[in-house]
Symmetry: none
Subunit: 368 residues, 2 copies
């Protein structure tokens, strides 16, 4: 499979090539109803203002590229409507599209998708196992991105490999939330200077799941925002044909070199690093949120110490407040304390360690 960069001839479908140019113009030059799947990672329109520093004073390398800047919501909406319409023209009647985004753009893209006539099948949450933290403590850690999966129109017979996905999920029906690590390490492509070649390279594991789920071998997968070619690389490994469109020459060059190296299905590069398989962590606060213990309830220790539960899952005793472990340690004048076995609550007149409630939650988690 050779990879070339060129302008397409009108009416021809150039396979396994990276096409140069504006994606709307290029898509309009391709024959209609010729593509099985589109995967699109459009600009997010992040609208970042000043610099951001980590607590250690290092500067966060922000996405400030020109291609991510739009004058207004209105101009972003016109852009979305235009490329979504051009993409829809290319789809076979039973074709489908995936779009990925964050809260900055995904609501606008999703609405545009519906307005264009696509039919949403699922929204999928990519839960990042290792997201960047919120350094200033001003919001929640932005730990996920959203994908939308839609068919060309309502009632279309889209492709969905239910059993294959069930296998990917240890025999259990695949859910709409996927836990996958972000793209780091050797998978992350570098430029000649050794810097990251693209600010938003997606992990191959994500594309693997998308392509296995919604295409068959031999299908044509188009990516109008090709970047460094993750979609093409995974499509090629999985025996699908791809068409990439990319405006920036630097990205095209990196993608071409990458694709030239891709040969066959390479099981190792797709193996998802599993997060630690030990017992899941259950925050004590969850017992409070779930009403298993209520704020104000009094916990006791075997030695007769008492503490009261607060609404945020901390305890307050005479003179001290903090986590179940901290308060236990303080009251015992010990360096540490396992709050789960130390603190007890009353059930049916008997004193029971709160660890019982944690075991209850873990049992539920295992059942799901």
């Amino acid at each position: 499979m050779k990879t070339k960069t060129k302008q397409p001839e009108a009416g021809m479908l150039p396979l396994n090539e990276i096409l140069a140019g504006d994606c709307i113009e290029v898509m309009n030059s391709l024959p209609e109803a010729s593509v099985d799947l589109i995967f699109a990672d459009p600009p997010y329109n992040l609208q970042l203002k000043g610099d951001l520093h980590r607590p250690d004073n290092s500067k966060v390398d922000a996405v400030d590229d020109a291609w991510d800047r739009f004058a207004s919501f209105d101009s972003y909406d016109r852009f979305s409507a235009d490329w979504l319409a051009a993409a829809r023209r290319l789809l076979k009647p039973n074709g489908a599209i995936w779009v990925i985004g964050s809260y900055h753009n995904i609501f606008r893209v999703g609405a545009a998708l519906q307005n264009t006539g696509y039919w949403i099948l699922n929204d999928v949450v990519w839960r990042k196992s290792n997201p960047m933290p919120n350094f200033r403590g001003k919001r929640l850690t932005n730990a996920h991105e959203t994908l939308i999966w839609a068919s060309k129109s309502e009632g279309a017979k889209y492709t969905f490999n239910y059993e294959a996905l069930k296998q990917l999920n240890e025999g259990i029906q695949m859910r709409s939330d996927w836990v996958l690590p972000i793209c780091t390490g050797h998978e992350r492509l570098k430029d000649e200077a050794g810097d990251k070649a693209h600010p938003t390279q997606k992990p191959e594991s994500l594309l693997h799941r998308v392509i296995v789920a919604t295409t068959n071998p031999g299908d044509v997968v188009l990516d109008p925002f090709f970047g460094t070619g993750t979609t093409g690389a995974v499509a090629k490994k999985l025996g699908r044909d791809f068409i990439g469109i990319e405006r920036e020459e630097a990205y095209r060059k990196v993608a071409e070199a990458r694709l030239a190296d891709v040969r066959k299905y390479d099981r190792e590069s797709l193996a998802v690093t599993q997060s630690k398989r030990s017992e899941p962590r259950v925050p004590f606060g969850q017992l409070v949120e779930r009403g298993m213990l209520r704020p104000g309830e009094v916990l006791t220790s075997p030695g007769g110490k008492v503490a009261k539960v607060r609404a945020d899952g901390t305890l307050v005793a005479d003179q001290v407040a903090g986590s179940i472990h901290q308060v236990g340690a303080a009251l015992e004048h010990a360096p540490s304390c396992n709050g789960w076995t130390y603190w007890h609550f009353k059930r049916d007149g008997k004193s029971v360690p709160i660890d019982l409630l944690r075991q209850q939650i873990r049992a539920e988690m295992r059942a799901n």
Copy 2:
């Protein structure tokens, strides 16, 4: 706290009541800038023909699919724009809103939110630990819903209890994906016939986290789609005032009975862990004035930098003089520096951060 159902008097803010009527009309009758938080679970079963009608009230027949789809979406968008505008008028300048939805409506609601002038702070995924499986195996298990958290406008000083949420998550900052079970069992309200009283009753654990995160005790929380009153029940337990608006009498009756049984937690349990930012400010000069450090004493940094204390509470080092923060930043060539943790002094032969002395002063202040 008594719960009543009535029509509000214009200009008055009726607290801890369920107001009957269309939420837009009722909201427009309430005084502006009077509410701290809005939680909204808008209906999204308005899809297609049924509840919708064309702008000119003409009958919809399924001849023109494209037009019909547009009319439906357009009508839903106008509904969203209207209630979001009415809600925004009620918010105090530093107020915030939460909206929950699924892929059927959340993209349209999110776009409308942005168009109305709200500023999105996070989107949050409620990951259901026990979702309904997809029986037909045609799609992914729809295992999550999406919440959007937004301030009234860009740059507003919204409330976020960062430390409390960190505590709820075992000392790690809270992420944008929340794993919580759906509302079942005793918590799920039944009607007289023993059927579920409301089709989409939300779990109290979800509201607990929302309200702890983004309000303080005594705040006013409004829910324009009150349903069976989960927002009101949790607000009341947590010592917040609520305002509910609900059109359906059957839901109002269930909610009233529910709220009558709810008790508020005691004041001490409602306190949550505060951030250091809320601690009183202690000028460094006070340590010198009080003789905890004497002029001429040498402070050191972990990296071996040195500076000398001056009588006015400034430091002087090679080439630089100024506040503890300024001198630390200059010596480290850093944009900023927390002098309290950066500078150390000698006590009993050991090097101790000067923050210890500040903590000593704060402890004294608390005791008095």
